[in-house]
Symmetry: C2
Subunit: 283 residues, 2 copies
């Protein structure tokens, strides 16, 4: 449910999670299941029955038995459906070599006069597969992504740890091996270049005068929210705006792009001060 919401924020068109549509107002998408087709003795009969139940948004699943044979069945069925006032909107491919199949299915549909029928692909997709689709010019019009959306396979765990930075008005830091923290109450200032792209951050102490836009702002005070939560559409717009402001090198799938972050003199000074204090502790 939360993944459906998060995906919508980052730019997905909608979700197949019906409850997310209801709870968050996210557009609902969805096609037929393999099991629906298997429950019929005949694939063509399954397509025809599904068309009757979804006349306004008909997407037919092609890969239950033989994808290309199913595409030919769609071509054969389309005129009959048209007579009944039903248009095939799209077909879905969910297994096999999606690049090759999308091309052969596109050819079958086009030859059958169905060039306005879109091709939707799903089945274990992730950003690397999508890059292959683009590079190989696969004629895929829409994508369904599930597993890779809800699981970060390359970075499966996000380690979040609470670290004390200040206590009783005194800056604190942890100094264990490879886990040194910056002490004190901090702010981050972000600069943008002439194109409006992010150019670099300064990490410093709250209250310093630094150039750039401060990123940290209070959202709770005395146990209460300071402002109402933004709407889902506002969050989505903000996410899009922020993505547009990322430097081009940080929008690539490949790792290795860096981003300049400077630690302010004040913060460096405080770190040294806390270190001196720790060194003076009882041995």
């Amino acid at each position: 449910l939360m993944a459906a919401r998060a995906s919508y924020i980052t730019g997905y068109a909608g979700t197949a999670t019906v409850l997310a549509g209801e709870q968050f107002g996210i557009p609902l998408y969805g096609t037929m299941a393999h099991s629906f087709i298997e429950s019929f003795d005949d694939e063509m009969a399954a397509f025809a029955a599904f068309a009757q139940s979804r006349p306004d948004n008909l997407v037919l699943l092609l890969d239950t038995y033989d994808t290309e044979a199913a595409a030919r069945k769609v071509v054969a069925l389309a005129p009959r459906l048209r007579e009944a006032g039903i248009a095939v909107r799209g077909v879905r491919l969910d297994s096999g070599d999606l690049v090759a199949l999308s091309k052969s299915v596109r050819a079958i549909l086009d030859a059958g006069g169905l060039s306005d029928v879109t091709i939707f692909a799903s089945g274990g997709l992730d950003e690397d597969r999508l890059a292959v689709f683009t590079a190989q010019k696969a004629p895929i019009d829409g994508l369904g992504i599930g597993t890779s959306l809800t699981t970060s396979s390359d970075v499966p765990a996000l380690d979040c740890v609470y670290k004390l930075q200040e206590y009783a008005g005194v800056a604190r830091r942890k100094r264990s091996a490879k886990k040194i923290t910056w002490p004190g109450r901090k702010q981050v200032w972000r600069s943008y270049d002439a194109d409006g792209r992010m150019a670099g951050d300064i990490l410093g102490l709250d209250g310093e005068a630094q150039s750039g836009a401060p990123l940290v702002e209070p959202v709770m005070q005395d146990g209460r929210r300071l402002r109402a939560a933004p709407s889902l559409e506002d969050i989505r717009r903000l996410a899009r705006h922020e993505l547009e402001r990322l430097p081009e090198r940080m929008r690539r799938l490949e790792a290795g792009a860096t981003y300049p972050v400077t630690v302010s003199d004040e913060l460096n000074k405080l770190g040294a001060e806390v270190d001196r204090r720790i060194a003076q502790m009882s041995a």
Copy 2:
């Protein structure tokens, strides 16, 4: 919460998730936080204060600043605590080279007359790190595992898909590329060798007469559970029993061990039958 329950089933001694202790009756463990120590101006003072609040189960965290220096503080503090009737039960290492540190801390504790104080290790541990601890004879008595317990980093997603096997009394199968399913209502029979270890399974149709213990049993009927849920302790015992029955080669961390699974003649026959039916569908 569910990870705490699952870990207890598989043999963990307990959990640091307090709510899991309350809800499931799982033994609770836990030590002090780095932030607790940082909130004091002096590490020794933090240890002494924590000893007062946890006199019966005192485990001191050593790696906030300097692990070996902290171990020497424990040695210095222990006689004072003993006078107050408080015994140091253990120390915890949460960062750095845990093999080297466990050995040096063990030496410091032993030299200080604290050979009964146990060493507890935590911090990004997984089964591979534990194998290293064993191989290098690290004197670690207890382990805290978090991130790697709740995330399967090497297999981050478990793809579970509903596949229709039978409908209206007729066996069904999906035949899409590399995703062919076995049709029909099935049973699995498991055989054991003379040592009681699992020797192999037969996958066949429900109702066949096969040797071995049938594994699939109905748990729901007409929307109702057929039996009460087993207790957590019973589940834990069963998990232990089943782990003991695994062949030795399947208890290794390394991949590559295989397990014999045979498909019965009856099931093979039904598969061919369904294939013939699919082939006869309208083209």
